[in-house]
Every structure is written in C-alpha cells, then in structure tokens.
C-alpha cells in the first residue's frame, strides 16, 4: 500500500460514498452548532419536513452573541441577539441535540467546549458553521468550517459533499526561544505563506517545536490554519493528546478507551508519504510577533518597523496603503512606539487556561496602565472556574483587568464588547480585518503574554523586555 499522510488516513476512514466523477460523501463524527450560522439551517429542515439524522453526534452552544458581563443572567438587551439565542434554545430542544445553554457552567466558545467535554477525539471528522473549527485539528481530527447550507446538509444526512484537498506540511523545527509562544508560531507561518498560501490544502503541522506544545498551544496553532487559507490544520495525536483527552466527560473509557487508543496510535503520516507543498520554519528563528495591518498576513517581529506599501508587489501595494490609513500608522514607525487603548484577552485562539496562566505570569503584582481598558474573557465557564481556583482571577482583578464571563466577545464583536471608532486594541484573537472588533476599530494580533505586556506599558511591547 502506498504511504499515506495523516489527512489521507482520516479521509479514507470517513469516505461514505464516492461517485464516478470523484465527488465524495464524507461521514461526519461530530457536528458543533452555534446560534449565528444555524437558525436558517434548522428552518430549512423544518420546511422540508426533515429531521436531524444523528442528534447524538450534534452539540450546540450559544457563544457569538452572549453578553460576557457578570449580570448576563438578566438576559440579552439586543433584541436580534436575544432572538438568535432563543432560536438555538428552541432548535436544540425540538431536534433533541446536546445543548449547553447560557446558564450552564460548561457554556463557552464552541471550539473550547468541544475539546473540554471530550467531544473532540483523534481521528474524527468535526465540522461547525464557523471557520475556526480548524482548532480541533490539534487532536489529529479533520476539522473545518462550513456554511449554513452545509450545516443543514450535515444535520439532515450526517455527511458532507467534499472533494479531497491537497496535502501541505508545515514543519517547525527545533526549540522556541523564551517569550515565543504557539500564537507566534501560527502568525509567523501565515506571515511566511500569506493568507491564501494554504488555499486548497489541509496543513499538517509537525516538527519538534509543535511536538513540544501543550494541547492548548496546539489548538492555538490549528485555530489559525484558516487564516492561512487552509481548509484544516492537523497535528498527529501523541501522549500529550491522550493525556488531555483521558477522563473527559465524553471520552471513551475501559475497553473502549483501549480500542480507541490502539486506533489513534495508527494516526500518523507514513514515512515517504507525499506532500504537495512543504514549508519549514526554524523554531529558534521565530520571534514574538505582532500584526500591523488588516490581514493576518501583515505580521512582523515586534522589533520591526511599520513597512512601506512600496515594499510589496502587485495588489498588495494598494492593500498595504489602505491598511496603514485604516490603522492610522506611518511607514517607518517602530512597532513598539504604537500606543494601545484597549487589551482584549480571550477567543477560541487564546481563551484557554494556559493562555490565562501566561497573562497572570506577566501581570502578577503589577498594574495596567492608567486609562487602559483591559478585559479578560475566558473561553468557557469551566476555564473561568479553573482560573478562579488557581488564583489567576484575583491577580487579574488586582492588576485592573475586567474579569468576564465566557463567550466570543470582542473577537468578532457581535455582542456589546466592541471597539469604538479609532480605538486601538492589542488582541489575542485571530482576525485584524477592517471593522472586525467594531466599526473603524484597530486591531493588533498578539500572543497572550504580549497582550498582557501591552496592558502594563500602554504600547505594543516586546515581552522579552519584561522577562
């Protein structure tokens, strides 16, 4: 048999049907659902008199619209947001799918809840009407975002019509230097490949620097595979993965655990398997990075200066000019001279416990800069509870951070957590698009430690200066 990549193996294990023209039906093991991209899909089922084929494999949680203020039990003020969340409440009940309502301590961002509850397991196919579904690839699961029509298709058939992507390998060799994190890796990769560099591919991340990451770090890396244009990101499961999964509420136990483990151990890329594209980065070359523009590919080491539009080629010249104008930056300006109004720590990229520990380490015993608006939004109610148990919440509050309830919050600003016009934010989230965090808001993507450093100094800061 010819050698296979990890992606090939998972694909083959889920191929339910292949037509003569090569169109495939891929069986879906887990379907995650949130309130924004699902109401039209459930309505479509209703209109066609269809049901959810596998409600036991379908898990819903509201996250995009939910308020994160401590008084959210009083309900959602915005009528449209409230209607969307109520629609999910109703659809979850009517179609009998697993559900974590806003009031449940396990509620949180869908991509944090799935792994936390053991829904996401190695070798699975996982989809959700959300592009950051790529997060689950950290477990060696084939996971990607889908549109609402596809949500309806998966609800009705538990399959997805797919064409196979090409294989891409991103290898990060060696060790990371102090102050460099999973977020810096994933941004550095996008800086290297561009936001369309992964289009048409599934990326497998490998190499010593990836292997050394915790599951939280691996989720951060895979989360942003979509920002590089890839359909999905994957990391082969190993002892780190098994240790994270074991004992989770929906992870297998007993004999089933043993059987699962035996299969999971076959999930790796065979020697000599073919990759259509290979990118290699040296871990020791990666520096703490920050974005300066309005695309995740606009990434530079924190020690750099804002680029000139003329440094680029083709359509990117005009895009860079537009970005600088939008961001209110001048070419040649030192990145560390950029003053910050707001710090947002959270999101499916960096809203896990390890991220919060990294922040606490930087801010412990220190105060955020006067006038700084700084909020920490844990990725789930359970992350919040754990941070409180570990004493992190006390550190955050003593430093001057707002300590919020779980949700997507200011990552996409569908709830009241938004930037105002011209407000400049260091954010641990995943997109710096125009208007992403609020109309005319300005976003600089950074790691949790770098966001914490910016909160203390009031400007983009090289975390290594504070170490």
């Amino acid at each position: 048999m010819s050698p296979k990549t990890l992606y090939d193996k998972i694909w083959d294990a889920h191929l339910a049907h292949e037509a003569e023209d090569g169109t495939c039906l891929l069986y879906i093991d887990r379907h995650l659902v949130h309130e924004v991209t699902s109401p039209q899909a459930f309505e479509g089922l209703r209109m066609a008199g269809r049901t959810v084929r596998a409600p036991e494999k379908t898990i819903a949680v509201p996250d995009h619209n939910v308020p994160t203020t401590l008084d959210r039990a009083k309900g959602i003020d915005n009528e449209e947001s409230r209607i969307q969340v109520e629609a999910l409440d109703k659809n979850a009940k009517e179609f009998g799918i697993h559900y974590y309502p806003v009031s449940d301590v396990r509620q949180g961002i869908v991509h944090i809840v799935g792994p936390e509850q053991g829904w996401t397991l190695p070798g699975m196919t996982v989809v959700c009407g959300d592009s950051h579904t790529a997060t689950h690839g950290a477990f060696g699961a084939l996971a990607h975002g889908i549109g609402t029509s596809e949500v309806e298709h998966v609800l009705a058939t538990q399959t997805l019509i797919q064409q196979k992507s090409k294989n891409m390998k991103v290898e990060v060799t060696g060790k990371l230097k102090p102050g460099v994190t999973a977020k810096d890796i994933t941004l550095a990769v996008i800086g290297e490949t561009g936001t369309a560099g992964g289009t048409g591919y599934v990326i497998e991340y490998c190499g010593e620097a990836i292997r050394d990451l915790s599951m939280e770090g691996r989720m951060t890396v895979c989360n942003m595979a979509i920002e590089g244009g890839a359909r999905a990101g994957l990391i082969a499961p190993d002892e780190t993965t098994y240790a994270y999964v074991k004992g989770r509420p929906h992870a297998p136990t007993g004999e089933q655990w043993d059987a699962a483990l035996a299969w999971w151990k076959t999930l790796y890329t065979d020697e000599d398997a073919h990759f259509d594209k290979i990118v290699t980065l040296k871990g020791e070359d990666i520096q703490p990075v920050v974005t300066w523009g309005t695309s995740p590919e606009d990434v530079l080491p924190i020690t750099a200066t804002v680029p000139h539009p003329e440094d680029f080629e083709g359509g990117k010249v005009e895009a860079a000019r537009r970005s600088l104008e939008y961001m209110g930056l001048k070419a040649g300006q030192k990145l560390t001279d950029i003053e910050i109004d707001t710090v947002f720590i959270g999101s499916c990229t960096n809203g896990r416990i390890e991220d919060l520990r990294a922040v606490a380490e930087v801010v412990k015993g220190k105060k955020i800069k006067d006038g700084m608006r700084a909020m920490i939004v844990p990725g789930s109610g359970l992350v919040r509870a754990q941070a409180e148990e570990e004493g992190l919440a006390e550190i955050f509050k003593a430093s001057g951070f707002e300590w919020r309830l779980a949700g997507c919050s200011m990552c996409l600003a569908m709830n009241p957590d938004q930037l105002s016009e011209g407000e400049r934010c260091a954010a641990t989230s995943n997109r710096n698009f125009e208007g992403r965090q609020g109309y005319k808001g300005r976003t600089h993507l950074v790691s949790p430690a770098m966001a914490a450093a910016a909160a203390l100094t009031g400007r983009l800061t090289d975390i290594r200066e504070l170490m």
């Binding site: 294990a13 191929l15 339910a16 049907h17 039906l25 069986y27 093991d29 924004v36 991209t37 109401p39 039209q40 309505e43 066609a48 269809r50 494999k57 449209e80 947001s81 209607i83 969307q84 629609a87 397991l121 070798g123 009407g129 959300d130 592009s131 990607h144 975002g145 889908i146 549109g147 609402t148 029509s149 596809e150 309806e152 298709h153 009705a156 058939t157 538990q158 399959t159 019509i161 936001t195 369309a196 289009t199 048409g200 244009g229 359909r231 059987a259 699962a260 695309s295 083709g314 359509g315 005009e318 895009a319 537009r322 569908m414 997109r431 698009f433 125009e434 208007g435 992403r436 109309y439």
Partner: protein
C-alpha cells in the same frame, strides 16, 4: 435553488486583494435568522457613511455599476469567516458571478449552494476582465456556464474550469440534500461499519 445557465450583465471592478467576509457583510448584520434581505448591507462599511448616506466613490454606488451582476475582484476574495451571509448578501444585491484569481475555500463552496458562480482565472485574464469591467455600464460581459466561457464586451472569449458536479447542480438548480438522501443506503452501510470499527465515536 435558482438555476445558473447564462448571464449577460454589467461587471463591477473591485481590484482590492483579500476582500474578507467582514467587508462583504459586517457582523452587525448576522443577527437575522432569515436567508434574505442582506443585499442592502452588502459591503456596508465600504458603501455607506455612518449616517447611512452613500460613499460616492465606492464602486457599487456609481450609477454605472448599481445594477452590476458580475464582480471582478482581487486575489483571495471571501477570506475569513464561514458566514453564508456573505454569498446571501451578494446574491440578494443581484450579483450572480464573481471572478478572481483565487477564493477562500469556504466562501467558494458557499457560492455554489446559492446559485452564484465563482470563477477562478489566471492573473493575466483577470487583468483583462478588470479593464473591461472598468468601462462601465455599456460594457456587458457574457458568462456561459454550459460552454464554460466568458465573453468580454470586445468579443474576446476566455474559457474557465468548473467542477463537473458543481456545474451540474448549478445548471439544474439542484438541492444537495435531496441528492445525498438518494445515497442513503451507502451512508447507512458506512455508518454501521464505522460503528462496529470505532464504537467509541
């Protein structure tokens, strides 16, 4: 789904690269639980001032492009989120075809589910079409899906590739779910086999 066979219409030029889904339809408009009504907010932040007045020099606000049915766009169109509200807004505005050198994967798939034809062409061809689109309302392009050709207002013809299954669905206006349900026996058999092999799933 509305069929797509042939389209003759005005093409609007949007040469900017990396036009993302937040530009196409900002999140404040994602709160609807309907599939329609998004057209008025297509490219909202580029198209309107804060007070709701139109930004004159935005392409779709120019008189010659207000009825555009084709968009010729820069690289990596539709990058970002999975929101199908983006193609819903494009369709609702009246655009049925988007041409670029590359599209983000999820957006590309979402187009086909909504009767929109996304066409990928090499840079040099997109450059020609962009120039043609810049001529304005008198320059109409013709898209023939059956023949897989684009004819410019000058009569220059370019052919394009499209996945045969997607083409078939688009030309017939087929419902994917209905097609998949016809293969229920295969899916049932697969599910039974997978449940035996991987009972923990």
């Amino acid at each position: 789904m509305e069929k797509f066979e042939k389209l003759t219409g005005i093409a609007a030029p949007m040469p900017l690269v990396n036009i993302d889904t937040d530009m196409i339809i900002p999140k404040v408009f994602l709160k609807s639980i309907q599939r329609t009504g998004f057209g008025v907010n297509l490219f909202d932040e580029m198209r309107y001032n804060r007070d709701g007045s139109e930004i004159e020099d935005f392409v779709l606000n120019k008189p010659q492009y207000r009825n555009a049915e084709i968009l010729v766009a820069g690289d990596n169109f539709g990058c970002g989120s999975s929101r199908e509200h983006a193609p819903w807004a494009i369709k609702d505005f009246g655009i049925r075809c988007v041409i670029s050198t590359s599209f983000a994967d999820i957006f590309f798939n979402n187009c086909f589910k909504n009767g929109i034809l996304p066409i990928v062409l090499p840079q040099e061809v997109v450059d020609v079409l962009m120039k043609d689109a810049e001529k304005g309302a008198n320059a109409r392009m013709e898209i023939d899906l059956e023949a897989q050709t684009i004819t410019t207002s000058d009569g220059e013809v370019f052919s394009f590739d499209v996945d045969p299954f997607k083409k078939h669905c688009l030309m017939e206006g087929l419902d994917d779910i209905g097609l998949t349900l016809e293969k229920k026996a295969s899916v049932d058999a697969f599910e039974a086999r997978a449940a035996a092999e991987r009972p923990w799933v």
